[in-house]
């Protein structure tokens, strides 16, 4: 077991608590960078898909895991990211600028929508956002001059500093684009967590009433969380749309929202790692299922995928509400303390009465 011997406040402020932790993540990054030489182009495409889901998942994680607001409308914001990115490119902006601007644009629109939406709590907010993602489908058809309507868009050619990002000719370029975006979003996310804003997100999640008493403007904090969340989801959506090669009003349907919510719950609510683990499950499960059904010699079974997803989600909510990452934390603690870990160490403590009267 390692002890953190802290000698300055910076030990708690910096990104990595010690050299061991740093070298683990550095090694992981090296493996990820070397991946195109290790695996074939099919699996590289799958990895790209995982990273894209992770970017969008980080967006929803910021809202649901960190700030405690449920959204079933993130597919709408992913669509907004994809369409605005293409529109900015058609205006003549280079891809990188259009891509980042699409994130900012989606974030601002999300923030504006959040002002009325976040007056709602719990299930009402979920219904509002679900309506949003269903509405987006029709909006895309109505706004056909900018969206191409039901015909949709074919993804334009993407060039970054003279390098063409092409899924078929050079899959590694797409992989590096997704990896770079995922790293950027993770970096922003991690920085927010260690600054005042990230703490006020957690404060709003755990007790709005005492957050207010500490001087946190709850409405503003929720709006910011929603805006940032939409910005990240927009970046993820732009990548998803462009990676798919073509997208129309049905690409970002509300099932994407639900899959995204499932991803972060299965991964572990409130953890950055959770967004990535959830993305791995969401992206690889369909492949895994088709391999299994192939092995069993049967043809594809309609509805199998959704059914298995649903059952996995129920199982997680019942048996491991902290998700895959929560399970890993428990296993790690057990190993670190071996053989002294106690059975009840992670039993959830009774939480004391909250001030409900002020609601």
């Amino acid at each position: 077991m390692r002890f953190h011997f802290k000698t300055s406040y910076d030990h708690d402020i910096r990104l990595f608590p010690d050299w061991w932790n740093f070298s683990l993540y550095a090694a992981l990054l090296l493996v990820l960078l070397a991946l195109p030489w290790v695996i074939d182009s099919f699996y590289l495409g799958e990895m790209t898909n995982v990273l894209i889901w992770a970017v969008a998942g980080l967006g929803l994680m910021l809202l649901t895991g960190q700030t405690g607001q449920v959204s079933l409308g993130h597919s709408a914001f992913m669509a907004m990211g994809a369409y605005s990115c293409v529109n900015f490119m058609e205006l003549g902006l280079p891809f990188l600028a259009a891509f980042l601007l699409a994130g900012v644009f989606t974030g601002i629109i999300g923030g504006i929508i959040a002002i009325p939406a976040l007056r709602l709590h719990g299930v009402y907010l979920a219904i509002f956002t679900l309506a949003l993602s269903i509405l987006m489908d029709d909006l895309i058809v109505i706004l056909s001059p900018w969206t191409g309507g039901v015909n949709g868009y074919f993804a334009p050619e993407i060039w970054i500093f003279g390098i063409e990002i092409n899924r078929w000719a050079a899959p590694e370029t797409w992989y590096y684009l997704a990896l770079g975006t995922a790293l950027m979003v993770t970096f922003f996310y991690r920085n927010l967590l260690r600054s005042p804003l990230g703490r006020s997100f957690a404060a709003v999640r755990d007790s709005e009433i005492s957050a207010q008493a500490m001087g946190v403007d709850v409405a503003r904090t929720k709006t910011l969380a929603f805006g940032l969340s939409c910005a990240f989801a927009g970046l993820g959506g732009a990548l998803m749309g462009l990676f798919a090669g073509a997208f129309n009003n049905e690409t970002f349907n509300f099932l994407i929202s639900i899959q995204l919510l499932m991803a972060i719950i299965i991964g572990g609510l409130g953890f950055i790692h959770g967004a990535f683990l959830g993305a791995i499950v969401i992206a690889f499960l369909p492949q895994f299922l088709s391999i299994v059904t192939d092995q069993l010699g049967s043809t594809s079974i309609p509805g199998l995928e959704t059914g298995v997803f649903g059952m996995i989600l129920i199982a997680f909510i019942l048996f491991e509400p902290m998700g895959l990452y929560g399970r890993w934390l428990k296993m790690r603690t057990w190993l670190q303390l071996f053989p002294f870990a106690r059975r009840d160490m992670f039993r959830r403590q009774k939480s004391y009465l909250k001030t409900e009267r002020l609601r």
Binding site: Y9, D10, D12, I13, F188, N191, L192, R194, S195, P196, L197, G198, R199, S200, A202, A203, R205, D206, S207, I209, S210, A211, Q212, A213, M214, G215, V216, D217, V218, L224, G270, R348, Q349, S351, Y352, L353, K354, T355, L358
Partner: protein, 266 residues
Amino acid sequence: MSLLSLDGVTLKFGGVTAVNNLSMAVEEGQVFALVGPNGAGKSTVFNMISRFYRPVSGSITFDGHNLLNHKAHEIANFGIARTFQNIELFEMATVLQNLLVGRHRHRRSTLVEQMLFAGRVRQEEREHRHAVEEVIDFLDLQPYRDTRIAGLPYGVRKVVELARALSTKPRLLLLDEPASGLSVEETQDMRWWIDDIRRQMGITVLMVEHDMGLVSKVCDRVLALADGAKLAEGTPAEVQAHPAVIEAYLGTSAISKTANAAGVRV
């Protein structure tokens, strides 16, 4: 001029008058207690000062500012911090993170700076941490720094809540039943802490408390409430001997006995 003054404050919930035409003044440097039976409106007074409730009439002034013109989240900026009767901590966060939320009103960095963790943010984080560490030292919370609230016993949570309020560097501290649910030893600690908060930090304290032992030891001035109206105000001894207070707590028949025992003619 008083630091905090309530002037003719009335609050009604539908037909129920929770607080009726209450006036009181807390002077700088005082420890002031609100006492009274359950449902007297003590916590309601706190919630009006915190601006969770808006009084129907009357005014609440803090250091020359009319608090009724401000929203709940702006109250902390005047230097008013509070604790809650039913502990309201951020359950899923560590003690340290809870206390750092208390530093929220001292932040100066912008959103973009925080996303990039620019130099100023880092510098500010160090300052926040330093301020929080002083509170941790003051309240002996060192063993719990990195513990999540969800795993802490009740007594410690009570202290963490006090610590979070102190982290805001307040001028006025509102303590809602600081000793409820604490053991005799923990109540003793709380008593010394309240003394030190006043003497060393120069913070004015307004508290709601049922434990008259604690109240008579730490408070300069006590106001007794019943059914939302003022019964008596004065030093702890005066209020405890006041016939109306005894009546409210013990009922009418007790008055003559207590008065006889105290040698007071009713």
